[in-house]
């Protein structure tokens, strides 16, 4: 199996500040990989290293099996799309698309053909003679994608490309990007802090924190089996409910409640008792009819209701603990009510309290 991009023991420091630490990452041919993390986690820095815009402190980067650690950005076979579009303001759309090709001294008819092809794929043909200033945000970002497209590269790098667009346009372009990936089948590396973009676009997600990868896996794995507390808390909106307690012989105990973890897949057989944290997603708590089928059932007091149209977020108290519960949009719950909820321990996540790793 050949990798499209290989990153080996990558280190990057700015003076005394270590931004990336001993980072290893292999990206498959044609894969859509999302680097996800909050700001300052090093995800954009990693992308800039792959692009060759930042010099690495240590380690190696391979693209298509070739060591490109010392190569210029233009020699790496990458195309890049930036958050602020970064279109050359004084050039027309056509000029923007062909600038890189002219620098590579491609023959004129080849340039024409490639620009025409990119314009067709992205449907920007009518805009070719306009300047970026006369384009809307969505059109500008399409041109920016086109600029990477014409270069006929192996790897596409996206640095938060949708963050400057308004919400509706962001969703539209997200869908287009996914379609584009299905069509082109290039390797794409995509940096974002938006977990919805990550979940919807990615083949695999790398969740980053403090210059290291916390978890690398499919969106399904990241969502259902977060490897540690950070990933569990970061992924999902509204975020997971956490309860601190003790795990004793396969039973999670908190205050005077006992939750037998029947059906829960432990990462390793549990021998010793230990302080632990259980994480339950608000959407995995069932109410109404479904409670009867749930292994664990509790009564909770509704504290606050936030109707959001498509669903309703309910804040409820289980003993002293405030729980977020996601209910149907048509739910008619009111503050002060007592309702019955059901929890399925096989869908929960257990973490060691000391190491914060998944049990």
């Amino acid at each position: 199996m050949s990798y499209s991009v290989e990153i080996k023991q990558l280190d990057l420091s700015f003076g005394a500040v270590k931004v990336l630490r001993n980072l290893d990452l292999n990206i498959n041919e044609g894969e859509f990989l999302v680097l996800l993390g909050s700001s300052g986690c090093g995800k954009s820095t990693l992308l800039n290293c792959i692009a060759g815009l930042l010099e690495v402190t240590d380690g190696q980067i391979f693209i298509k099996g070739k060591n490109v650690t010392w190569a210029e950005p233009s020699e790496r076979g990458i195309g890049m799309v930036f958050q602020s579009y970064a279109l050359y303001p004084q050039m027309t759309v056509k000029g923007n698309l062909s600038f890189g090709l002219k620098n590579a001294r491609l023959p004129k008819d080849e340039i024409e053909a490639r620009v025409a092809r990119a314009a067709e794929i992205l449907q920007i043909g009518p805009l070719l003679d306009r300047k970026p200033g006369a384009l809307s945000g969505g059109q500008r970002q399409r041109v920016a994608i086109g600029r990477a497209l014409v270069r006929d590269v192996d790897v596409f790098l996206f640095d938060e490309p949708l963050s400057n667009l308004d919400a509706k346009l962001r969703v539209d372009l997200r869908v287009e990007l996914k379609r584009l990936h299905n069509q082109l089948k290039n390797t794409m590396i995509y940096v974002t802090h938006d977990q919805v973009e990550a979940m919807t676009l990615a083949d695999r997600i790398a969740v980053m924190k403090g210059g290291a990868i916390m978890q690398l896996g499919s969106p399904d794995e990241i969502y259902n089996k977060p490897r540690n507390l950070y990933v569990a808390d970061f992924i999902g909106s509204p975020s997971m409910n956490f309860l601190e307690g003790h795990l004793e012989a396969g039973v999670f105990k908190v205050d005077d409640m006992a939750m037998p973890m029947t059906g829960y897949e432990f990462a390793a057989p549990q021998t010793a008792d230990r302080p632990a944290v259980i994480g339950i997603r608000p959407e995995h708590i069932v109410t109404g009819e479904l409670v009867r089928n749930a292994p664990l059932q509790y009564h909770v007091d509704v504290d606050l209701v936030e109707p959001m149209g498509s669903d309703t977020l309910v804040y409820a108290k289980l003993g002293d603990h405030l729980f977020r519960i996601r209910m149907d949009g048509q739910a008619t719950v009111k503050a002060g009510q007592t309702i019955e909820i059901g929890i399925d321990p096989s869908r929960a996540s257990l973490f060691d309290k000391a190491t914060e790793d998944r049990l």
């Binding site: 800039n48 210029e72 930036f82 970064a86 279109l87 050359y88 004084q90």
Partner: protein, 298 residues
Amino acid sequence: MADLTMTGPRGPKPKKRFSRANIFLYGTLIVVSMYYLLPLYVMVVTSLKGMPEIRMGNVFGPPLEITFEPWVKAWSEACTGVNCDGLSRGFWNSVQILIPSVVLSIAIASVNGYALSNWKFKGSEVFFTILILGAFIPYQTMIYPIVILLREIGLMGDLGGLVLVHTIFGMPILTLLFRNYFASVPEELFKAARVDGAGFWRIYFQIMLPMALPIFVVAIILQVTGIWNDFLFGVIYTKPATYPMTVQLNNIVNSVQGIKEYNVNMAATLLTGLVPLVIYFASGKLFVRGIAAGAVKG
């Protein structure tokens, strides 16, 4: 209730034309502009009067009989020492000093500024700090060392020497100007150009230069005004045959032989000041845009 809302205040609030704030504002503006315009007015009218009329002493009165004789005399006949060819020689000297100095200093400083903001190298910040320090050292302290320097390289008294001096002295402030302007250009634009395979000069000429027109205008105005109005360097580093216009003007105005020809002096002064004035009026709008730069969006 309904009546009350219909009779109460409605629509835009009426503004008083002669409010206290307005009187104060326009009063200040008028006084300040008088302060600057009155001397200019006196110069213009005096330059258009004949000597007999000036001797009558009515400084503020308009000329009874308009004559352009003083202007002609100032340009081509006024005497400085032994030469009697007016300001014209000084004018051409100044042009010969101005054009190469402005072009050279701006060309070098813009590349400096571009390199210092986009191609940071080890020690580039130190280099920049040292360069900026130059802007704070009084020129006077460097006059004699430069005399020695120019003598050693054989450019003392030569126009080339003065061009060199102007180019070097323009460097700190111009580099600062260009560096700050290029620093305000989004970094991603520079990155995109690098991914597109453009190198140092290609990014400079094809990406940065076309975006930097306003700041070039600011630099041109600063340099034209500064170099044209320079007296100190001009009088020190040149010789009588190559004196710039300002030095020539001084020699005409301060000439003590014969009678003081106020009308010729005024005309000569106005002629000398004309070049920066024309540059300013021709590019005023761009100048303001350049000064307000930094708010440029990609």
